[in-house]
Amino acid sequence: MNRFNVLTAVALAALLPACSNDPDPAQYGAEPVLPKPSRGLLPSMTIAKPALWGEQRPTVPPGYTIAPIATDLKIPRQTLVLPNGDILVAEGSGGNAPKLQPKDFIAGYIKAKGKSSVKGGNRLTLLHDADKDGTYEGRTVFAEGLNAPYGLALIGNHLYVANQDSLVRFDYQAGQTRVSGPPVEVTKLPSQINHHWTKALTASPDGRFLYVGIGSNSNITERGMIAEVDRAMVWQVDAETGAHRPYATGLRNPTALTFQPGTGQLWAVVNERDELGPNLVPDYLTSVREGAFYGWPYSYWGQNMDPRVRPQDPQKVASAIRPDYALGSHVAALGLDFSVPAMGAQFSDGVFVGQHGSWNREQPVGYKVVFVPFRGGSPAGEPVEFITGFMGADAKTRGRPVGVTVDPRGALIVADDLSNTIWRVTPTGVPHTAR
C-alpha cells in the first residue's frame, strides 16, 4: 500500500504546472516580444478572489477624481453617453455554450469564482444628471426584456442595441427616460453556441453603417470548424436595411469598436487566444482594415502559425496581417474609446482601454484602465495607467472594468461588472464634476 501512496504523490506532483513564475508581462506596442508557445500539463490559472469596495476607491492620477454614479446594477458591460449627457448602461450576461469536455465542468466552476454572482439584467438603465453636478440622481430602466445586450450606438433618433443574438433598434428622442415601444429587429446575429457572446457595436460617422464585433465560438477551434462560420469577424451592417457583410476577419474576439474622430477609421480591441503560455498571445488594439484577415485561428500576431488548428491553412496564414498595438497577453481588453481635450492635457490624444483582467496566468495582469497615447493619429509610446486599484495589494479584486466611454464634456465612464458599479472619472479642475 505504501507503493500506492508514493506513486500517487509522484503523479500529483507531476501534474502541477511546470512554471512557477511568469516572465515580465510588459509586452506593448507594434513589435511585442513573442516567446515560444509553452503550456504545462495543466494551464496556469489564477482566479483573484472578489472583495467589496467598502470605503476604498479605484486609484486615479493626481488631478483626477473618481466617484460611483450608479451601484447595484445587474452586470453592467458597456455604456453610451447620449447627446444630452444622459448615460445608457447595457446590463446582461450571455452565452449558452454547452459543456463539451470533462474539463469544462472544472474550468467553469473555477472561473465563476472570479465573477459577480448577480444575474444579468437583460436591460438598459438610463442615468440622468439634471443639474449637471456630477451626481446622477435620475435612474430609470430604459428598456428591459433584452437578450444579453452589450453594444450600443446612436444614429440620429435611432438607438441601436446589439443583443447576443440580434441587432435591434429603438426610437429615441432627447430626454426620453423609457423606450416608447418594442424594438425593431435590424438583423439576426450569429448566436449558435455563443462561446464568446458579446456583440460589440459602433456606428460610422455618417450614420450609414453599423459595425458589429462577433467573437469566435472557441478558444482555438476546439468546438470544430463548422461552429466558426460567421465568427471571429467584424460585420458591416447597413443601418437602413440590415444587409450585412464581413468587414474584417480573423479577429478572435473583437470586444469593443469605435471610430477615430475626424478620420472615419474603425478601431477595435481584440482578445487573443489562451493556453499558449503566460506571455502569449497579446491582446491588441488595432485599426480595422477593410477586407483584412488578422490570423485567427490559423495564426497569431501576423503569421505565427498556431499548431493546434487542423486542418491547417498556409494560404490563409500567408495573408494574415499584424495588428497595430499589443496591449499584453491575457489582459482581457473589453473597453475602448477615444479621448477628448476636455480630459486634460496628458490624456487628450489617445484611447482609453478597459482591461477586465486575466485568468490564464499565474501572476494576474489587467484589472485596470490604461491610456494609450496617440501621435499623428497612431498609437505612440507605452500605455499609461489611468485607473488602477481594481485589484488591491491584498490580491483581491474589488472591481473588473469592462466598457469605457468618454463623455465629451470631460469625463470617463467605466462599467465595472464585478461590483456592478458605474464609475465616473473627471479632471478635478473642471467645473460641474462630482465632489
Binding site: L42, P102, S218, T221, G224, P307, P311
Partner: protein
Amino acid sequence: MAVTVDATRPRATYPIHLVHAVLLAGTFTLFFSALLNDLAYWSTDHVQWTNFASWLIAGGLVVGGFALVFALVGLRHAVRRSGSSLLYLLLLLVTWIVGLFNAVVHAKDAWAAMPEGLVLSAIAAVLAGMATWLGFSSLRTGDLP
C-alpha cells in the same frame, strides 16, 4: 454462483468477484475505445473524436478507480499473495496513472492534445489489456472480498 462454496473443491477455483470482473473489463473497454477515437481524430482532423476520447478516458478513470479498490481489497484478503496478483495490482495502478495523465493531456484544446494523447491512449489501452489478462488469470488463489 460465484459465492457458492463447494467444500470438496480447492479454493483455487474461485474467480475474481463478479463486480470486480465487470469493472476490470470496463476499464479495458473504455481505454481501448478512447484509443480508437484518438485514431479517428488523428486520421480525420474532426474534433468531435477527441471530445469522445476525453469522456471515455474520464469513464475509464472512474471505473478503473473502483477496479483498483477491488484489487487492493482482494490482495488484502488473499490467503496466499502470489507474485502475479501483486503484479496485477501494480499494472492496474500504472494503467490508472497513465490514464490520469492522458485525461489532462486531452484537456488541451483541439490538436494541442496530439500526438501525446494518442501515444498515452495506446499505452493505457495496452496496459489495461495486460492488467485484465492478469486479473482474470491469476487471482484464483484469493478469498472473495
